[in-house]
């Protein structure tokens, strides 16, 4: 069985978006929201929450599989590099062979505008009828 194609999702990261995510998630780690603190770190400025960037992958899978993703999706990823305010992040999925149990498997990643991989990993889902 061939895995259906999954449309990419493009998202712009802004400090304002990071701030809204901090409020929504309850994660106010200063590396994300405190510019003065973040400038003194090796990152030299604020970075987006990894889960904010990862949300683009889940959004992409939700758009492709709907409730099947919400009830039976599986993600396994590594955060490779941070996304910063001003970055444009593209989430994409490359179909891999279907598993014997019928689950579709994808290699997923997020890249920034420079082609740097920010997130890489796999997503699996058993498609509904």
């Amino acid at each position: 069985m061939t895995a259906p194609s999954v449309e990419s999702v493009v998202r712009t990261i802004t400090q304002e978006r990071i701030g809204r995510y901090a409020e929504a998630s309850g994660d106010h780690n200063p590396i994300h929201v405190d510019e003065a603190f973040a400038q003194a770190t090796p990152f030299g400025g604020t970075i987006a929450h990894g889960m904010l960037v990862l949300a683009a992958i889940s959004e992409m899978m939700t758009a492709a599989f709907g409730a099947a993703w919400l009830s039976g999706g599986r993600l396994r990823i590594r955060f490779r590099a941070p996304a910063r305010p001003g970055d444009t992040v593209t989430a994409s999925a490359q179909a891999q062979s279907a598993r014997e149990d019928g689950a579709f498997r994808y290699a997923v990643e997020c890249q920034n505008q420079a082609g740097e991989v920010l997130i890489s990993g796999t997503a699996e889902v058993v498609a509904g009828d």
Binding site: D27, M51, S71, R74, I77, F79
Partner: protein
């Protein structure tokens, strides 16, 4: 009543279990999350089901009320397994534990496992594992 003192993540041993936390993620909270991440899929509203990462993020946020992250802590990995969809507004119970703890080269790697169960269900709807890397005292994360 005063909020309980938070413990430092890096001081928690492998096997530590957090007290269970009751959660309810409302429609307004899901809307705020979707707005923040820019997810305009209509399915959340049309079928009343929450984005699983919204639930996981909220669960992590709830744990952050119980523990403190050392400055310089980074989220380095994430696993998420959905066994059932979570209806928006459902009453949830979060349990969590330190499943992994290792230390090397001035860094502590912690694996935090979360299980989120819908009230009335026997089995968790969502399993998640977050891998967190923190500097030990007096060290800094590599640039």
């Amino acid at each position: 009543m005063a909020a309980p003192a938070r413990v430092l993540l890096t001081e928690l041993p492998k096997g530590h279990e957090f007290p269970a936390i009751d959660l309810q993620v409302t429609q307004d909270e899901i809307a705020a999350y979707a707005d923040a991440v820019g997810d305009d899929n209509e399915i959340y509203a049309s079928v009343g089901l929450a984005p699983p990462l919204a639930i996981a993020a909220r669960a992590l946020g709830a744990l952050l009320e119980l523990m403190e992250l050392p400055a310089g802590t980074l989220h380095t990995g994430q696993e998420l397994t959905c066994r059932a969809a979570v209806p928006i507004g459902a009453r949830l119970r979060l349990t969590g534990r330190i499943a992994q703890r290792s230390e090397r080269a001035g860094l502590i790697v912690s694996g935090i496992e979360l299980a989120i169960t819908i009230e009335g269900d026997d089995a968790p709807a969502i399993f998640a594992k977050s891998t967190i890397m923190s500097p030990t005292k007096g060290s800094a994360l590599p640039s």
